[in-house]
Symmetry: D2
Subunit: 139 residues, 4 copies
């Protein structure tokens, strides 16, 4: 198995174990070196008081996207943990599907800094913007 394929499998396997992603109906749609996308279709059960996607849904999928983007660039044996993140919610997430994109901004030995965006299905409108710090967890 090529190194790249191995990494993709590692991310897919970890994502499959995040049962919360399944509860959200979230799908892993892209795994590249330093970049991961997760999408989530609208359901009433994901809404806040005005019927739009709850900020917590946006945050959950973009946190996972940032974490897995980091994982693609970590040593094979490492796992990823979120240290902290900050998210700005820019406008109500009115959309039938949301797309979270996580990208690695800085890869360090112990810490990674990632950028996250949550957008509409066409990836034109940005609903939220995250900066996340990830920890390289070695067993």
């Amino acid at each position: 198995m090529s190194l790249e394929k191995e990494i993709v499998e590692k991310v897919k396997a970890s994502f499959a174990k995040q049962l919360f992603m399944d509860t959200l109906g979230a799908k892993l749609t892209l795994v590249e070196k330093g970049k991961v996308k997760i999408t989530c279709a609208y359901q009433k059960g994901l809404s806040q008081q005005n019927g739009f996607f709850h900020a917590g849904v946006l945050t959950s999928i973009v946190d996972s996207a940032c974490g897995y983007a980091a994982l693609t660039m970590m040593p094979k044996e490492a796992d990823v943990l979120s240290v902290e993140f900050k998210i700005n919610l820019l406008r109500p997430a009115v959309s039938n599907k949301i797309v979270a994109v996580g990208t690695v901004f800085k890869a360090g030995k112990t810490l990674f800094v990632c950028d996250g965006l949550v957008m509409d299905a066409k990836e034109e409108k940005v609903f939220a913007k995250m900066t996340a710090t990830m920890f390289v967890s070695r067993k």
Copy 2:
């Protein structure tokens, strides 16, 4: 209806409309002036890759707790919107139940700043710590 009761009802009604809270199995357990608690029992469907509560679950309930804490101190006709928040994840959330507490730190005319904590059922161990900026949305 006393002013206080009216506020409690307003928060309860809004919480009931956040269908995502129901998806998480989250319950509103305290509504006081400037302070709100939301709890969430563990289910496999809320887990991350190691079987603990997903950071997104912690974030979702403490964002709502902060928002509703702010709403208790906003004008009657206002609604609350999350502008942004930052959360530090301090340790794996290994617990059969988590409790999110949101408290108002600064109440302004347009913006509120709130503190959030996510703890274990006994409220002894802190799993996560949030600072959130909330917007006073007037129709």
Copy 3:
């Protein structure tokens, strides 16, 4: 005076009143619609315990750069106030000059979200990365 020139003058006049920028030896080197650069040459008096630029210096100039980037897109009569910001310090700022670039990410009626970077003189190495929320202050 063209609208653009008027905005540039407004930013320059405000920058000149920020006497702290003078204490840091900071210079306003670019003012465009939605983008502002501020540079600062190294002096011993700006250092932390290892002799590098203090994180506070980086933060001060990139906060001002973000604020003025926002001001270029605000109504003529408005002033800008920093609501909050988050900054990740990526590596020691070892450089004879630092360059802070602030750009508007989202321009709203009441709030702006800006991106900030602090780089070396060649703008190749990134020392710090900021996300800032700015308030449109109307008299």
Copy 4:
């Protein structure tokens, strides 16, 4: 020299090497286990466009206060580095003196989370509130 005295000396020695603190006229006024205070008297050279303390000054001293609070609880041989912080600016810092208080919220093996406040001279009014992540740097 008692352990405590040794720690106080270590913090004082590091603070003295932060020449930027001297440029700001900042003084280290308290060093306890997990808690540090730094004060700064108003001078025109520390002001923003309206004559108040620049947000960068508040940030600089409270970042140092948080860092040194962490350092008091780190192993003897370790140094402290700011990983990232978020600060909310709650009101204009109109005061003849500001006091920054940094306290350790969570002490970890690799990372510390600290709370910071910047207040007026009487420590009654809060101007700014920080959450900072600090790194335990081992040579």
